[in-house]
């Protein structure tokens, strides 16, 4: 299993250094997965256990389908000004929805 994952990362990171690079990419991959699981538990624990169970299953499925997530995260965090603008607009809207909508 792990060898397979290593192969995938090896394929994806041909131009970005090997060995330690892949090691750190794997670390960040595990960190992302841990964050997604812990975030789901944190967000849904307050609701109720049925929602928690379903939400956890959905998130696990999502993780299985999106692995490796690291490269997607990296793609979303480039230096482009347009992407930052999009996220700023999104955040502004989100803040107003949260505070004025009273979620």
């Amino acid at each position: 299993m792990l060898e397979k994952v290593y192969e995938i990362f090896h394929e994806k990171m041909k131009d970005k250094g090997q060995g330690m690079g892949i090691g750190s990419a794997l670390t960040s991959e595990f960190l992302m997965i841990a964050f997604l699981i812990i975030g789901t538990i944190l967000a849904l624990r307050t609701a109720n256990s049925t929602i928690l169970a379903f939400g956890a299953i959905i998130i696990l499925a999502a993780i299985l389908f999106t692995v490796p997530t690291v490269f997607k995260v990296e793609k979303e965090n480039n230096d482009s000004i347009n992407l930052s603008s999009f996220y700023v607009a999104l955040t502004l809207a989100l803040l107003f929805i949260i505070f004025l909508g009273g979620i």
Binding site: G17, S28, L31, I41, L42, D79, V88, F96, F99, L100
Partner: protein, 489 residues
């Protein structure tokens, strides 16, 4: 507590005066050098000798109650700016002035001295101290704008295309955040008629439930907070700034943004005390920043970029402590800010040394550095241990308190996340350490003229400070905890 301390405004006024003075002395390098060293000594001394208290500019102490809500009659409005100076401000001011001093000394030592450059450093110092001291919400806004321009100017001074781009992005989004902070202030002024933070907090607490105007103000000010501290949507912009400044200036910039984070979060907590949703939202953004920052740091193969993302993710960790909202959590977050600023400054000074010595910070081109600079390598290893929370050092104390506070606040999952993040930070920086100092390979080109005595002295002093705080944490932590308790948020 309420003595009118005259020395307090000197912390803001002196740097501004000195900035104007060294700005006039452009190209007279010797006098700039002399004046900067003398004024730096004064800047460090002033916070030490100042008494705790408040300073009232052209004002008088309010007696009795605050004015009625929504009634903007002139005689009832309490005009005049108030600066307050307590134990927390003293600790933060000391750390800020000392690291500013180290940055300026490095700049002088590198013969890059220029009047305008030092002036910009002094203006950013003055703005940060004003943000920490001000008890007036508009004064706070004015100095955030100053800080944005001064920091952008420090990055522009590098004169590379990438730094121009970073500064332009920083200023574009600075306009948005500045406008949103001012709009939030305007909404508060319109509905309560007050600018003084203490009065405003009393008025809002007496008004009960926030109405929709107040809630809009919360949203706008939160956006401003996210920008000033470089959290989630602005983390790329902030890390771009750190990356494209000279490393010794990045050491200063990260101190400023972390302290502004703490100061503005305290202002928000005081103004909207009792509004729990604000803290949850802060916590959410903080967690997201921490994770994204670490993940991005692990991917980098350029030392300065790596350290920038680590700095951003550590700022998120500070915000996690503040977002927990209990007094224990807030104190732990502020304590982590102080600790983290010290160890992060060591790493940035090491990056500065590496940049001068090897003429590059690209990790792929560096190897076998331990023969050339054994002391720097050793201190970088210690700083790596310090920043990832290994026991004898200071971050261990604060991260341990953060985990404890998370558990006490009923969120033990956060404790797990904090542990994972310190592991990730350790992996990211130890990778850089290995590649610079340990990796075998052919010799790299070395600039023999650079001896870096000043940088070595600075990093040794800072690592000793880290060790000292780690061994005697209560010297720093207890005053912070008492201050947070006295805030009553």
């Amino acid at each position: 507590m309420l003595n009118n301390s005259t020395l307090i405004p000197l912390m803001v006024v002196l740097p501004l005066i000195m900035a104007i003075l060294v700005n006039f002395l452009h190209q007279k390098d010797k006098s700039v050098k002399f004046i900067s060293i003398v004024s730096l000594i004064v800047f460090v001394i002033v916070p030490v000798v100042t008494l705790y208290g408040v300073h009232l500019f052209s004002g008088h102490l309010r007696t009795g109650s605050f004015p009625e809500i929504s009634k903007m009659l002139i005689p009832e409005v309490y005009m005049g700016i108030v600066y307050s100076y307590g134990t927390l401000q003293k600790i933060l001011m000391l750390v800020l002035t000392i690291i500013t001093g180290f940055s300026v000394l490095t700049v002088i030592n590198k013969k890059m001295i220029s009047g305008v450059y030092v002036a910009m450093i002094f203006i950013s110092l003055a703005s940060t101290s004003a943000i920490m001291l001000a008890d007036d919400i508009f004064n706070f806004f004015v100095f955030t704008e100053f800080l944005v321009v001064a920091q952008a100017a420090l990055v522009i001074a590098v004169q590379e295309t990438k730094s121009f781009k970073a500064a332009f992005k920083y200023m574009i989004f600075g306009t948005i955040s500045g406008a949103s902070i001012l709009l939030g202030i305007a909404l508060l002024l319109g509905s309560y008629g007050l600018l003084n933070i203490t009065d405003l907090s009393n008025a809002i607490a007496a008004g009960g439930q926030l109405n929709s105007i107040g809630l809009s103000a919360v949203a706008l000010l939160t956006l401003g907070w996210l920008y000033e501290s470089g959290l989630f949507p602005f983390h790329i912009i902030k890390s771009n700034m750190y990356e494209n400044a000279k490393p010794e200036i990045s050491a200063l910039l990260q101190v400023q943004s972390k302290f502004v984070l703490v100061a503005m979060a305290i202002i928000l907590f005081r103004v909207f005390s009792g509004y729990a949703l604000l803290k949850s939202v802060m916590l959410g953004f903080a967690i997201f920043t921490v994770v994204i920052g670490s993940v991005m740091a692990l991917q980098q193969i350029e030392l300065r970029k790596l350290l920038s993302y680590v700095a951003v993710s550590q700022a998120g960790l500070v915000a996690v402590g503040l977002g927990l909202g209990t007094s224990f959590g807030i104190a732990a977050g502020i304590f982590h800010a102080v600790n983290d600023v010290l160890s992060m400054a060591i790493l940035f000074f090491v990056a500065s040394f590496v940049y001068d010595k090897f003429k590059t910070t690209n990790l792929d081109q560096l190897r076998e550095g331990l023969h050339i600079a054994p002391l720097v390598g050793f201190v970088m290893l210690l700083a790596t241990l310090a920043i990832s929370g290994v026991p004898p050092f200071n971050s261990y104390q604060s991260e341990w308190r953060l985990i404890q506070a998370a558990t006490q606040a009923g969120l033990p999952e956060l404790g797990i996340l904090v542990i994972l993040l310190s592991v990730a930070t350790f992996v990211a920086i130890i990778k850089a350490f290995y590649m610079i100092f340990m990796r075998p390979g052919p010799e790299v080109e070395v600039n023999t003229e650079v001896r870096g005595t000043m940088t070595k002295a600075i990093i040794v002093i800072l690592i000793i400070a880290c060790l000292g705080i780690g061994l005697f944490p209560n010297v720093v932590y207890d005053p912070i905890y008492n201050f947070v308790l006295s805030l009553g948020v």
